[in-house]
């Protein structure tokens, strides 16, 4: 029986199809979840995909946070279910307080779209265990509000606890504090990532296939759980 990974569609989600495809390529069963339904359909993990939920009105992720599906996601995440938020999904995780900090307007004010080199700093989270610590990867990045901010004490705690999951290399595309591209919660089951691993799972369409291990990691972590 293959493991079930839910992918939530909010009004304005863009990358839900690609996320579901990445789940399938990694060997899982992708299950579509709807923002207005708090039924998680017995999934084992959830991906909050990229896009512009609710048009990014108010603040990115601010309205999605109150969608019925998020009540269930927050409850299950707090009980240990793996959750990956990509781009807008990362913003929703921060707005939901599943992850600390916030994502703000890129310091350049430009929307950034590029193949971005990253260093995986944490290879123990539910979504990164198939990487080696220190491994360098290239996956697409595309955001207008991807600048990660948190107060200095929170940043120090994230560093000290090994909760910086990935860091930007070569250049900092959005002014994120300490070049942070992704973080996880204390337990390591909830990961937020600004770049897009789901767009780097096939050589035909991606710059690399470096995104696949995010999705194989979670499937293995579920088997071993």
């Amino acid at each position: 029986m293959s493991l079930r990974v839910g992918v939530v569609t909010f009004p304005g989600s863009l990358d839900d199809r690609d996320a579901a495809r990445a789940v399938r390529i990694a060997g899982g069963e992708a299950v579509s979840l709807w923002h207005g339904d708090d039924d998680l359909k017995k999934v084992d993990a959830v991906v909050l995909p990229g896009g512009f939920s609710y048009g990014d009105y108010l603040r990115c992720g601010a309205i999605a946070r109150f969608a019925p599906v998020m009540n269930s996601v927050v409850e299950r995440a707090n009980a240990g279910m793996p959750v990956l938020g990509i781009c807008n999904g990362f913003q929703i995780l921060c707005e939901s307080h599943l992850l600390p900090g916030a994502l703000t307007r890129n310091d350049s004010l430009h929307f950034m779209c590029r193949d971005q080199r990253l260093r995986i700093e944490n290879s123990t989270s539910s979504w990164t265990s198939d990487f080696m610590a220190g491994q360098e990867i290239v996956i697409p990045l595309k955001n207008g509000e991807g600048g990660y901010v948190a107060d200095e004490r929170t940043l120090d705690a994230l560093e000290a606890e090994g909760r910086v999951v990935a860091r930007y290399l070569d250049m900092n595309p959005n002014g994120s504090r300490r070049d942070i591209a992704g973080i996880c919660n204390e337990r390591g089951n909830v990961v937020g990532l600004m770049p897009h691993p789901e767009h780097a799972v096939e050589s035909l369409t991606g710059p690399t296939t470096d995104g696949i291990p995010f999705f194989t990691s979670v499937l293995k972590s579920l088997v071993n759980a």
Partner: protein
């Protein structure tokens, strides 16, 4: 009738790239002496009835949890009874 006005501003320590771009524009358009610009949001909420007690508390909560993000923003809330 009552009106609640909520002003939301980025906290002083949070970089405001939009404000910085506006400052650049103001200078280019000839305004001298501009030292800083911060850009915020204002919500004007019109309601029937009076705003007090539990209803005011709910508005405070919503201002803190929906209208602003306490990680990066501060808010100020003002109640105007019988706005003209």
């Amino acid at each position: 009738m009552a009106r609640v006005v909520v002003d939301v501003m980025l906290k002083p320590e949070i970089l405001d790239p939009q404000g910085r771009a506006v400052a650049g524009s103001l200078r280019r358009l000839g305004l001298t002496g501009v030292t800083d610009v911060r850009q915020g949001k204002q919500f004007i909420i019109d309601l029937d009835g009076v705003v007090e007690g539990a209803r005011l508390e709910l508005i405070e909560t919503l201002a803190a949890e929906l209208l602003s993000n306490p990680v990066i923003e501060d808010y100020k809330l003002q109640v105007i009874e019988d706005p003209a």
